[in-house]
């Protein structure tokens, strides 16, 4: 099996994105914009994207020429996928459950998943820390945070 260098993969992804963005920049809708100034809004982004494509090609080519062995490390892809999923879910739940409840869920899940062994610590931390943060922001700093549909301020 031929191992493709990771740099080649990254370079290819960059090339793909760059091509997509260049295609978007060539959309005729942009040509009618920028009335009253000599440039349309994609004048500068296009220059950037040409440089982007050049750099991406260079990364890809160098990856093809110089095949470096990936560094030897212990990786945990499963754990990574789970924690990414948890953070992603947190991102969306803030809008629905409000800051406090989703933070309680997040702290609880992360601590359970990373094996916090004392259940008392886990519960106290998961409730007290979000509560303290919420109190600091909403009451001491007067910065409003997203609220849950059940309470007017929490």
């Amino acid at each position: 099996m031929v191992r493709i260098g990771r740099d080649v993969l990254y370079g290819a992804v960059m090339l793909g994105f760059g091509a997509f963005l260049l295609w978007e920049a060539s959309d005729p809708k942009y040509r009618s914009m920028g009335v009253g100034t000599p440039f349309d809004p994609v004048f500068y982004p296009r220059i950037l994207l040409y440089i982007w494509m050049a750099v991406a090609s260079a990364v890809t080519l160098r990856g093809l020429v110089r095949r470096e062995a990936p560094p030897k490390e212990t990786h945990d892809w499963v754990k990574l996928a789970v924690i990414t999923g948890v953070i992603g879910a947190y991102t969306f739940s803030i809008s629905f459950l409000g800051f406090f409840f989703s933070s309680v869920l997040l702290c609880g899940t992360v601590c359970l998943f990373l094996r916090v062994k004392q259940p008392v610590l886990l519960v106290i931390f998961s409730v007290l820390f979000p509560l303290a943060t919420w109190f600091t922001f909403v009451h001491l700093l007067a910065l409003p945070l997203p609220v849950s549909p059940w309470f007017s301020r929490l």
Binding site: G34, V35, G36, T37, A142, L143, P144, S152, R153
Partner: protein, 317 residues
């Protein structure tokens, strides 16, 4: 048992009310009122909101929380309020552009009818200004210089489709001259360009004149403004142009009539409060209170006028 059933009914009613969002029975305000400022802290709208805050808080009898929701020329914050529950607990402090100009410029998740104008706070006419060391001492100097060398003079704006841009287009058309347009992203940058003699003129908020020590040539108001009594109006210079930047409080459309009345009454009290008027005098902002229906018809007329002007300038979407 006798007591539980009515209690349960009450609870059920309360639940239904909270779920459906009709708050006619619930007293307003029942919790802190959030005023969204669709710009970053430190800007003009932010300043006006915060100086209105103490008086409005007292008049309304509730805490007021100022929330800065910045981005995309104020449309992000405006959209947030337009989509908020119309119970009077989420309001917006907006200047002219987000409600009356941006909807003409592009597709937005809100329109002029998404808001219920509550009251206007400030209204500042724009002023044509040039560098103090420049040879232009009057509008006539500027116009004749522009006629002598077409295209050599420049004007700065705070971006395409803004009040300074519209005013400049109106001015150039009225005087029948042409200048190069150099857009900037905020007023401070334009002022730096004026002071550094990168651009020739700027038609912007009058409050900038004193702060940056520039030379005002004309004020775009229908009659002389007391705070700038020595600046001639554009009309007296032969150009019948009126442009101003105003700001006021808006509620989401669909707000219950009772709540709306409470709000307008509180705001009327707050803008007349000496704390507010003194603070506005300090920041050299021209107070122009318009309450309720008065403000509503003003906003609608501005919406139509700006649509026409943007269309004429070929900027409408």
């Amino acid at each position: 048992m006798k007591k539980t059933i009515p209690a349960l009914c009450g609870l059920f009613a309360a639940l239904t009310l909270t779920l459906t969002g009709t708050s006619e029975v619930v007293a307003y305000p029942e919790k802190p009122v959030v005023i969204v400022v669709p710009y970053k802290a430190g800007g003009n709208s932010d300043r006006h909101t915060r100086l209105l805050q103490p008086a409005l808080q007292d008049a309304l009898g509730a805490d007021i929380v100022v929330k800065n929701v910045a981005g995309a020329a104020g449309t992000v914050g405006a959209a947030q309020v337009a989509q908020a529950k119309p119970d009077g607990h989420m309001l917006a402090m907006m200047p002219i552009a987000p409600p009356t100009m941006q909807p003409h410029l592009r597709d937005l998740p809100y329109g002029i009818d998404s808001f219920e104008p509550v009251c206007m706070v400030d209204n500042n006419p724009v002023v044509l200004m040039v560098n103090k060391t420049s040879p232009y001492k009057s509008v006539q100097d500027l116009v004749s210089a522009a006629k002598a060398n077409p295209g050599s003079l420049t004007y700065g704006t705070t971006g395409g489709g803004t009040v300074p841009h519209l005013a400049a287009i109106g001015f150039l058309e009225g005087a029948d001259v042409s200048m190069k347009h150099v857009p900037f992203s905020n007023a401070a940058d334009v002022m730096k360009a004026i002071l550094g003699e990168v651009v020739t003129m700027f038609i912007g908020p009058a409050s900038l004149v004193e702060r940056f020590d520039v030379r005002p040539l004309a004020i775009f108001a229908s009659e002389a403004v007391p705070m700038f009594a020595d600046v001639p109006t554009a009309k007296s210079e032969g150009l019948d142009l009126v442009f101003s930047i105003w700001g006021g409080l808006f509620a989401p459309a669909g707000i219950p009539e009772e709540t709306y009345q409470t709000l307008t009454a509180a705001c009327a009290k707050a803008v007349a409060d000496p704390r507010t008027t003194e603070a506005m005098a300090k920041i050299k902002s021209n107070a122009d209170p318009r309450i309720g229906e008065d403000f509503k018809s003003f906003v609608l007329s501005q919406y139509e006028l700006n649509g026409r002007l943007l269309g004429k300038a070929d900027l409408q979407k």
